[in-house]
Structure formats: C-alpha cells, structure tokens
Symmetry: C2
Subunit: 785 residues, 2 copies
C-alpha cells in the first residue's frame, strides 16, 4: 500500500489548499480588510464622542476580570461559596470558563446538564481536537459499515430484477457483477485521487463546488442529504427486520425499537468520534470475518462439487429479457456502493497525515467491498439460489453452507448488527457535510458549532430527527425507499467525478491526463447508473428524489440569500466621510452611502418645533428637530430596517418611556431605574376609564410628580394594542430618537404561575418587535414563592 501511495503522490505532499478544519473558531469568521477599515473609521468617531468622558475604566464599580475576587469566598445564589471558581485565569488575566459553566444556573439547566454528562461524558476542551482523530483501524469500521453492509442486499437487489425475466436470465448475474466490480474499482480509484487532490475534505459537495461551481456542489449535497437520511431509516428498518424475523414477538414494537436504536446511535455519536469508533468497531469486523468464513466454507463445498453450479429452480419469466432489464439489474446492484463516499468527507478526522491515512482506508474499503460483493455473487450462482420473498439470499446461502451448528446464527446476527450500524456512517458524514455547507452559508450556521464533546452535535441531532420522522412516517417499513437513494448517491458520484475532471484540466499537474481520464470514466459509469436508476425506478419512488433534490437546492440557496442579506445589513458602512469627524456634535447622522444627505447640521433645519408646556422652565435641547422637516424621506430611504444610525454614542438620542399600571414597588423600581440612566424620561399610564385615570394622577401627585406622566384612556380596555401603537406614534414623529421602553418583568418560580399574571412585558415586547428604534428593557421583579 505504501508503495502505491508514493506513486500517486509522487513522494510529495499534495498541492496546497486553504486549510479546512472543524475548528471551533469557524463560528467566528474574521473581519476582512474593508470591514477593519470601516471599524477603524467608526472608532475615530467614537473618540470624538468620548472626548469629554472620564478615562475608560475609571468608573467601573468592579473589576470585570474578577481577578480581585478570585481568592476569597464570594456569595452565590445558592448560599454556596466559590462561584468565581467557575472561571480560571490563564496568562495576562485571561478568564477561562471551567467545565461547570457549560450548564446554565437554572434548576432545569443543571438537571439537564447532569443527565447529559451521564449519557455523553464530560465536556471536551477544544485543545482535545487532535486527540479525537481516528486511526485507520478505527476509521475503517466506522466509515465502512454502510458500504459493507450493503452487500447484504446489493446482490439480492440485482438478482431480484433478473429473475423477472425467468430463471434463465440469472446466469447474467456474473457479467453484470463483473461490470459492477469495474464500477466499484473505478469509483474507488477516482475517490483516491479526490482525497489526494482535496486533502482537507474531499466530499462531493466540496469538489463539485470548487470545480463546477456552487450550483453543482449544492446539487451533489442535496443528493447526499437525501441519501443519508434515508440510509439511517432504511438501515435501522432492515436491521430490525432481521431481529424481528428471529424474534417475532418484538414485531409490534418495531417503531419504538427503531426510535430507540436511532436515539442510541445519536447518543453514541454525540459522545464523540473516538468513543463512537470504539462502540462500532467490533460488529463490523465480526461481520467481515463471518462473511469471509462463509466464503471459505462455501468455496470448499463448491470445490467438492467440482465448481459445477447447482441449477436454479425454474421460475417463469414475467417480462422479456432485454437491455432494460439488464440495465435495471445493474442499477439495482449498484446500491451496494452506497456509502463509498464516507471517507472523502471525513478526511479531516483522521490522524495526521490525514489524506494519507484516509486514502489507505479507502483502498481497504474498496478491496473488501469487491471481495465481499464478487464472492457473494459467485457463491449464490454456484448454489443456484433464487431470491425469495420470505428469506434473504444471504440467509439462504448461510443455511445452505452451514446446515448445522451455530454458524448460521452468527452470520444472521452480525448482518443485523452491521445493518443497524450502517446508519452510523450517515451520522459520521452528514454533520460534516452540513458543516461545510454552513461555512458557505447554505445551511443554518448552527451546524458550525462543535458540541461540548467536539462532535458536530446540531448536525447529529438534525439527522436523527429527520430519520426518526421518516421512520415513523413509514411505520418502520422503509424498504420501499431503497430505490430512492440510488439516485441521490450516484448524482453525488457523477458530480464529484466530473468536478475532478475539471480540477485536473485546470491544474494540469504531471500526469493530469491519466487522472482526468480515470475520473471521466468513473463519472461516465456513475452517470449511466444515475440515469438508469432515475428512469427505471421513476415510478417506484425515484421521482421523490428527482423532485426533492432541486427543492433542497432552492432551499439552500434561499438560506444563503438570507445570510447574504443579513451580512449586508450588518456590515459597517465602508467609507464614512472624514468631514464628519470635525463636527463633534453627535447630533448628526452618519448613513455612510449618502454622507451629506444624511447629516443635517444639528439645530439648523427649522429649530425646535415643539414648545414645552407653559410652567416648565427651559426648552428642548438644541439638537432636536433636525430631522423633523423630512421624516418621510428618512423613512423611505432606510432600506435595511433601522440600521442607518446610532453607530457612535453621540449619535444616540434617548427618550425613555416607562409604562406604569400601578404605583407599587415594581413600578417604582422601573421608574428609578429609568430615571437613574440620566436620560429624558417620562411615564405613561393606560386607563380604562376617566375616573381611574384621575385617581392615578392623584396618586402620581402624592408621589411627587417627579416625572412627566401621560395618561391614555383605553375605552376598549385593551392594553397592549394602545401601548404599542402609542410607542409607534412616538417613533413616527421622531424616528431619529431611540425609544427605550422600561418594563418591569414579573419573574415567577413555577411555570404555571404564568397563568396568574398577564405577562404584559412579554406581549409588549412582541408587539413592539417590528418597530425600528425601540429598545425594550426588562427590569426583573422576582416573586418570593
């Protein structure tokens, strides 16, 4: 093996590509040059705004680094000491969270944390990423269970088509199997080249995106997503069928058992890569050993008969033998190849040198596949077996080969095991695929998150959820879905290998023609299978795949466009006019694309147009009203919501509104909090009747009338509507003012206590969510019981 590696790689390391790892920092993409420049520029405006402020840290009432509090007891909510111990200090006062901070402090959070830890083990630090890599001997079973298990149904699927043309057609199985072996070796060799060319992750999505463009990459990804979800459901169903046919009493529990298996697979994978490898290695090796034993004995038996095939029982032809039947048999047999892609996506989880280890593993997998597939097909032919509805071919073969003894049971048991574990390959692969897609913005960003066991937890959970849904929807009888996923798999193969052809053409390294030719041949064969499968099985279910793939692609592109819009909306304005810095007033507006129209010099346009009520001294401050004359224009141009203002403290103009229902402790705390911010503040009271409004105003005067009080009569007794629309009206007359609504939030101990409270805070927040420029501040009030 080593020699071949050297030859392929010409002794050199593979070509350079941008490093792609499952780094936890993937969630925090760095800023580019333009963004940094914009940031710097905004920062200069801040300097102007903060000119007259005291030094940065002067007024902080505590040391945010917690340095001073670390070595003495600090009180906690639960009267325990040592809350600070949850953070360690590394170099230069750097805080580091300890494992105990993974859970939130709520009772539910802590309970969940305990269960989680018991099931999945303690959290793993990011530094452990390398330790979580796989050796070849672990990777082989983890990544190959899908591929190898499919030989349990691949030959049968092929023969089941051939037998439609009568038992005479069964003889064709050998040439078709030979063609399939060629296909396997071609595709395998192709993928070996792919791993070499894309050493940081060589899945169809990556390769097709890179070489053919994102549209093709997404198409391949959609095919694979479909394939993986179906693989899990179908494998679990197949494994359970093997069990329930041995223990029929379990049949009524198929659905709960299946969900249990899916949950177990999920838990195993959430534990992390190495742990999953340990759990899953033995059954796969046992299966390989069992099948090889079957061969050995079968060959010996056949040798005793002089290798003359037993004639199969006569079966009448249902259809004529034609090219179509042969093609269908070929396409059906090709389902044995599902799972071949597993290694290529998984390159980054191998121990270094990753690509080398991955390639060797791939070679071994292909070799095992060819041996098992060809061996089984030949033995079936020699024994003259015919597909039957009530017993699988593998079971028939095992029965024939081992009429007595425990061997039959061993083969059936390991087959069931490996079929169940085949689902595990999808668990290994799909989260990685989603990670790559999320990195490009085609899948939700949460798929970038490395869970606390360094697994891509969100992808695992999504896969388990989708597979469970399919499993339940089909009541655990998912065999009819098998034709569906040939389409997805071979779509990915075809695109990946076409991509490789383009790759070689583009790079034109030494020997590129040979490599391109190999990939082109692989692409051609894959495309042949794809077209055959899509056409011949269209009615049987392939139409779902033909429909679902473009829909998934559209969906992914929609996600991407949402993220693009968000990034654009959240981008800092690229080039702010330098002139702004000299103003130094902060009343100006700094919408970057139109540096002049957006900035009326403060106090110019007409001056204040609201005169204060007589009796109160002083006028409104000078900066106000600058936008008043053309509010509509401002509204029209503010395309991306309210993102046009307020990038520096000087630009924020405050007005604090405190809705007050009753003058109790909660209301006074909210009023005190709001007033203590030192910004213009007033209170608003909503009253169902004039009498109540008057009564409230008298209470307000008893208190001292320290703030302006606005009472609104709500004759229809609704609360949220008028309040929200009042705030909206305030916003609409002065869109440039940032309204802060300060609401006391009643925090209850028990969930059902929510029934006893009107939850005004929550409902107001919801109603005001759409209004730009309205900040909601919840002042929590904790009820004792």
């Amino acid at each position: 093996m080593a020699g071949r590696q050297e030859r392929d790689g010409d002794g050199a390391t593979p070509p350079e590509h941008p490093t792609i790892t499952f780094s936890p920092s993937a969630e925090f993409p760095p800023l580019n040059e333009t963004e940094l420049a914009a940031l710097h520029q905004v920062g200069r405006r801040w300097r102007t705004d903060l000119r007259d402020q005291p030094p940065r840290d002067a007024r902080l009432p505590l040391d945010p680094s917690l340095e001073q509090y670390r070595h003495r007891p600090a009180p906690s909510r639960f009267h325990r000491l040592g809350r600070i111990e949850m953070f360690r200090t590394e170099q230069h006062g750097q805080l580091t969270a300890t494992g105990s901070t993974s859970t939130t402090g709520t009772r539910l959070g802590r309970a969940t944390g305990r269960v989680r830890r018991a099931l999945l083990g303690p959290p793993l630090a990011s530094a452990a990423v390398l330790q979580e890599r796989m050796r070849k001997l672990v990777a082989l079973p983890v990544l190959s269970s899908d591929l190898l298990s499919s030989v349990a149904y691949g030959p049968e699927a092929m023969l089941a088509i051939l037998v439609l043309a009568g038992s005479g057609a069964l003889g064709l199985s050998l040439p078709i199997a030979a063609a399939l072996v060629v296909l396997m070796i071609t595709v395998g060799a192709s993928y070996r080249q792919t791993v070499y060319a894309y050493p940081h992750g060589a899945g169809s999505y990556l390769v097709a995106s890179d070489s053919l463009g994102p549209r093709f990459g997404l198409t391949a990804a959609a095919g694979l997503i479909l394939d993986y979800v179906l693989t899990v459901s179908v494998s679990v169903a197949a494994g359970l069928q093997a069990i329930t046919s041995a223990l029929p009493a379990l049949t009524p529990f198929t659905v709960p058992l299946g969900l249990l298996v899916i949950a177990a697979l999920l838990a195993g994978n959430l534990r992390g890569v190495r742990a999953a490898g340990k759990i899953f290695a033995t059954p796969t090796y046992l299966f390989i050993a069992a099948i090889l034993l079957l061969f050995a004995v079968g060959v010996v038996r056949a040798a005793e008969r002089g290798f003359s095939p037993v004639p199969p029982p006569t079966v009448g032809a249902v259809e004529g033998l034609g090219l179509l039947v042969v093609l269908r048999a070929f396409a059906s047999g090709a389902t044995s190849m599902t799972g071949i892609e597993a290694v290529s996506n998984a390159v980054p989880v191998f121990k270094p040198v990753e690509w080398r280890q991955a390639r060797t593993t791939l070679t071994w997998m292909i070799a095992l596949l060819v041996v098992l597939f060809a061996g089984l097909t030949i033995l079936i032919h020699l024994n003259g077996l015919v597909p039957r509805a009530d017993e699988t071919l593998l079971s028939q073969l095992a029965h024939r080969t081992f009429p007595h003894g425990p061997w039959y049971a061993l083969i059936q048991a390991t087959t069931a095991m490996v079929l169940l574990l085949a689902a595990n390959t999808a668990f290994n692969d799909l989260p990685r695929l989603l990670f790559f897609m999320a990195r490009d913005g085609y899948a939700p960003r949460r798929f970038l998150h490395l869970g606390d066991r360094l697994a891509l937890s969100n992808g695992l959970v999504a896969l388990a959820g989708a597979a469970a849904l399919v499993f339940v929807a089909f009541g655990g009888y998912t065999q009819s879905l098998i034709p569906l996923y040939a389409v997805g798999v071979f779509l990915a193969f075809t695109l990946s290998q076409s991509g490789m052809v383009m790759h070689w053409r583009h790079h034109r390294e030494r020997g590129w023609r040979r490599r391109a030719a190999l990939n082109a041949f692989g692409a051609l064969l894959s495309a042949l299978v794809l077209v055959t499968a899509a056409i011949t099985k269209f009615v049987a279910g392939a139409w779902v795949a033909v429909l679902a793939v473009p829909l998934l692609v559209l969906f992914c592109r929609h996600i991407r466009s949402h993220y693009d819009a968000m990034r654009q909306a959240l981008a800092l304005p690229p080039a702010v006019a330098e002139a702004h810095q000299s103003s130094g007033q902060g009343g100006g507006r700094a919408r970057a694309p139109e540096p002049d129209t957006g900035q009326a010099a403060p106090g110019t346009a007409g001056g204040p147009d609201w005169q204060v009520a007589p009796g109160t001294a002083g006028g409104p401050d000078s900066a106000e009203g600058s936008e008043e004359a053309r509010p509509n224009q401002v509204r029209e141009t503010s395309g991306p919501g309210d993102l046009r203002v307020d990038l520096t403290p000087g630009e924020v103009r405050h007005l604090v509104v405190v809705p007050v229902a009753r003058l109790n402790l909660a209301a006074l705390r909210a009023l005190a909090y709001a007033t203590s911010l030192g910004q213009p503040t007033f209170a608003v009271h909503l009253s169902p009747e004039q009498e109540e409004a008057d009564r409230f105003r008298r209470q307000w005067e008893t208190w001292g009338d320290h703030l302006r009080l606005e009472t609104i009569i709500s004759p229809y007794r609704t609360v949220i509507g008028p309040l929200a629309q009042y705030v909206e009206a305030l916003h609409s007359v002065r869109p440039e003012v940032t309204l802060t609504v300060v609401v006391p939030e009643i925090v209850v101990r028990h969930l059902w206590h929510h029934l006893l409270h009107t939850r005004t805070e929550l409902r107001l927040r919801r109603a005001l969510r759409d209004v730009p420029g309205v900040v909601i501040t919840s002042v929590p009030v904790h009820l004792p019981e």
Copy 2:
C-alpha cells in the same frame, strides 16, 4: 307580582352594600392609606435625588401628549399617513385610544383583529356598560334555559329510580313530585330574599363568603364551577343526542359537532350580553310554548278519559321499595332544579333597578319551573308511561299525545334547542362567578378583564375550553356525568341559604325571624338532597365531585396565597426612617423594615477594595464597596427576591455589560447604545480558543479600544452557560450594583428564519431570568428580508 315585591321590600330600597359592578377599573384596585403614605415618603427621597437635575420636562425631545403632531401628517411604518389619528384628545390634553388601536401593529395582530371584528362585532367602549344591561323579557330566556330545560330529564330521572322497585312503585311519583315542588318554591323564595339582601350580586359564593366566611364561599364556588363546566358538556351532549337520534347519519360527527356548538356558544357570548340575549330568547320561549301546548292537549285527552290513569305496563322489581329508593328518586328528581342559581349571580346585568328586575324574573322562572315539572309528572302518570332506554319519557308523552301531525316533531326540536341552549346559562354565570373570585384573589386576575365587547371574555374562554375538554374526553357521551352535578349544585344551595340565615341573624331587620326561618327550611331541604345525592350516587360518580370540590378549594386558596405573597413583595415599605432624607447621597440602602441595618453610610466600610489596573487614571467612585464586607448578610436578609433596593434613582448603581460576538453593525449599535447611557460600561467577548480571542482583541484595538474588553475563553464552546454565569459572578461580588446586559436582538421577518439564528438574546434572557438585579436590554436589529 308588583304587590309581592312591595311587601318583601316594604316599599323601601334594600340595605346598603358596597357597590359591586363589573367595572373595567376592577383591574386597577386603588391604593390604600398606608400605601399612599409610603408612596409619598418615597417621593420625598426622589426629590432629594433629583435636586440637581434639570426641570422635569425640559429635556424631552418630543411632546408625549402628541398634541403638536396631531394635525399634520406623520409617517407610519406602512407609508400611510395618520398614525396619530389613533388617539383622540379629550379635555386637557387627555389622550384617548380609538378602536383601531385594539389590535397590535403586527401583520398577525391586524389579521386576527379583522377576523375577531367580523365574528364578534366592533369593540364597545366602557361607557356602553349600561346599554348592555338586560330587560326582564330578555333575561328570562337567557337565564332560565338551564333550569327549564332540566324538566326534560328531571321527571324521567325520578321515575327511572322508582321503576327499579317495580311498576307498582311508580305511583309514588306524585307525592315525591309534590315534595319537589315544595323544595322548588322554598329554594326559589329563599333566593328571592337573597337577591333582596344582596342587590349587587347574590350568588352562593358571595353570600356564603359574606356570612359564613371565605372558606364556605370557596366551597360553594367550587361546587358551582364543577356544575357549570359539566352543564355545558352534558347539555351539548344531550342536545346533540336529540339531533342524532333524528338524523343518525350525523352520529359519527358527534365530537366535532359538539365542539362546533361550544364554539358557537362561546362566540355568541363573546359578542356580549345583549347580542347573546337576542340569539337565545326565541328557542326558550318556543320550548315553553310547546310544552304548554302539550299540557293543554294532554289534559283534554285525560279529561276525555275522566282523568283515570292508564295502568302502566308491569315491570318487575329489581330492588325492594324502601326509604332509600324514595330518597334516591327525590334526589334524582331534584336535578330539575339545576340552574335556579342563575339569576342571583346575574343581578348586576339587569337594567336598573337591578334587584327588582332580577327578583321578578326569578319569580317567573320558579313559577314556570313548577308548572312544567308538576304538569309533566302528572301527565306521565295519567298516561301510565314507564322510562325506556330507547326513548325519552318526554318523547313518549309527545307521541302519545300527538299521534299524528307535525306537533311531535316541534316538541322534539324545541327540546333539543333548549337543551343546547341550557349550556348558555353556564356561559352567563361562570364568568361572573370567576370575576367575583378574581376580585378576591381566589382566581387568576385575568378574569377581571372586560373584553372589548364588555363580556368577561377570559371566563368565557376558560369555560368553553374546560367544557370542550370534558366533552372530548368522554367522546361526547357525557350523560353519565349527570349524577355528578347534583352534588355541586345542592352544595352551593345549602351554603348560600345557610349564609342567608346567618345574614338575617346578624342584621336583625324587621321580620328577620320569618326570613331566617324560610332560608333555614330551604337550607335543610337542600342539605337533605345534597347528602342523599352524595351517598346514593357516590359510586356512580358523585365521588368525583366529593373529591374535586376540596381540591378546587385548595387550588383557589393557593392562588390567593400567591397573590398575597406578590402583593406583599410589591408593597412599598410602609415607614421609611426620616433620617434617610438628610443623607442625600443615594449610595445608601433603604430597606424600610430595618432602616438602620440596611444603610451603611457611603464610603465607610473599608473603602474601595478594587484598585484600577495601572495606567488608567482615577479610582472607582467613592460610594462603592460599602456592602462589600458583609455580602452574605445582605443576601440572607433579602427575603423577597431583589426588592430591597433601587426605589429612587440615587440608589441605583449601574454597570452596563455588552456581550459582543463579532464587531458588526449590530454589535456597534449595542455598544453605542450602552455607552450613550453615560453609565460605567464594558464589553465581554466569549471565544472558543485563545487564537480567536487574540484576533478579536486586535479587531477591538483597530476599533480604538474605547471600552474595557473582557475576553473569556470557553474551551467547551458553550455560549450561554459561561456568559450567564459570568454575569452571575459579577452580581455575586457586588450584589448592590444593577447590571444591565445590552444584547442586540436579531428580528427576522419570517418565523422559520429563527432556525437560521442562534437567538442568543432569548436564551441569555432565559438563563439570567433568575438572577436578581440583572436588567436585560434588547437593542433590536431588523433584518431586511
């Protein structure tokens, strides 16, 4: 009738009681003297705190009364003009919301508002309360459908027990019916007295609470709640059964049809009292007319036979005839009286003079009940009818009386209608009962809310929900629940009339002995029925009531204790030491009950113990650290959550924390917002790895390092846990500081877009909800699409 009224009331108005009306202000109970005094005192401390501030309204950037903006177009979110028109000005700048503000401005809110208006009609202003009162002719059918409809099954229930002792025992029906008539007249007369004594609402709950104490009142209320919920389910089921026996094709749709009927009843009642009256008046009058017609013809037929009873068919005895059977028959017949209570709770919805109108209506109801019940029993006896499983007695009687023609159908149809409408009495009564209970704190306060059609909407919805639940749970076959509610009803009767006895004893007006004796007799008879029903029907289902009533009482008391605890927690400290005013520093703590221990003079206890990092000028302000030496003590004594501080602006000590993940527009807006508040502010960044932390710090420095930045490494890659616990740690080292966490909240257009965002704001809010003294401020960022 008028003459009797005069005699009962002795021509005078009834005794004075505190006015109880369904006023919309009930949701805003006034402050008592102690609270006002405390409010005044807190207000004086505010004056000290605000001494150096500019005048109250001086800095407001706009006129909160919107006065100035009313008569010119203002822009709105939807580019429509005239948002301000949603508020009208009454006298002295009083804002009044118009009907269009009932709905919130969101798309969903507006759509819901339209549907609601179409179904329920436009909102009614509070001033329309009087117009929504009922005349007698409307009140009679609305309030009596339950009572009168029960004659459709009451006599049958009685005979069904008697026939168990053989057909010979059926002759006892006449004396038992006579006893029941006595019971009806007694209870009716008792309630007439109750309405007179409690002219503002005379339900069992109110009477028993007032005279016997809240525990008895709650017991009566629990019985009635049970009764009302069952009444709705059972009536709807009975009505539907009458329909489905005529149109068997509808039988499989019993459950959806029942839900539809309940929904229709709910909608009709949500439209309001008068509207409901209009809908429900005709069927009840038709039913009365139909039954009276049946009597007339039946009596004529019997006269033709010379009033000699037809001998009933011989039925064998199942049990011996004893006192028990007679008592059970009596108790079963008494179910005819369910619904008699309806008027007494509803006194306030009559037109003035309320109690007079209510009493007349009650008299008419009782008279009709006696006539219908006695008449039916006699006719059944004369016709020698026996209860049969397949046909109701009423139906048999109608068949016998009208062998031909449409009359039989008319009687069946009106019976079905009135049975369906019987549920409506519960819809009229239960929300009022819940209103009274909520006013006393024994039910959720939302039952106080008058909906926009002046109905007690929340009570209506709760009743419909509970009844629908029972209906669905029993699959629409709820007849077995009938024995259940005799217990609830007669429990309420007994308590209410015992309460009246105590009432007369207490007040000793002229003629009180006579009145007390009548009520005592009623109480005795009711108690007799109650005990009989509870014992004889214990196994048949009465045990549920026997169990449910105490549980409901416990539940109500729990609600009350929650509200009590809340009121106590939210009450202003009653007597603040005057000494506090002279301090004027604001650093002091003012937990009133311990005026000295709570107030350390600022700056005394040890002084600042955190030295600012070298290189930054200035120290922490002088007031800090005063609580540092004894944080545990402070924590221990702060019983009711965090309600001990921050009642005046000077007491609030701020620290603003801004979690920043990435330096984009959203983060800078949050930073600008936080900084512009002018309070001590710093930022915190959570990083999965040291490299990312360093990179972020470089970006921070590019921006200008305007705020202190604390980076926390989260090696387990969790976000919410470490952030929440960091904030908690900050809180624990300085519990007296109010932490404001400023988080940008991404607002998306479509709900499913939430999947694409991590919703840190929401999760952080949840995690921090339990930490006292932490205020969360959401700065919304609206995404364009």
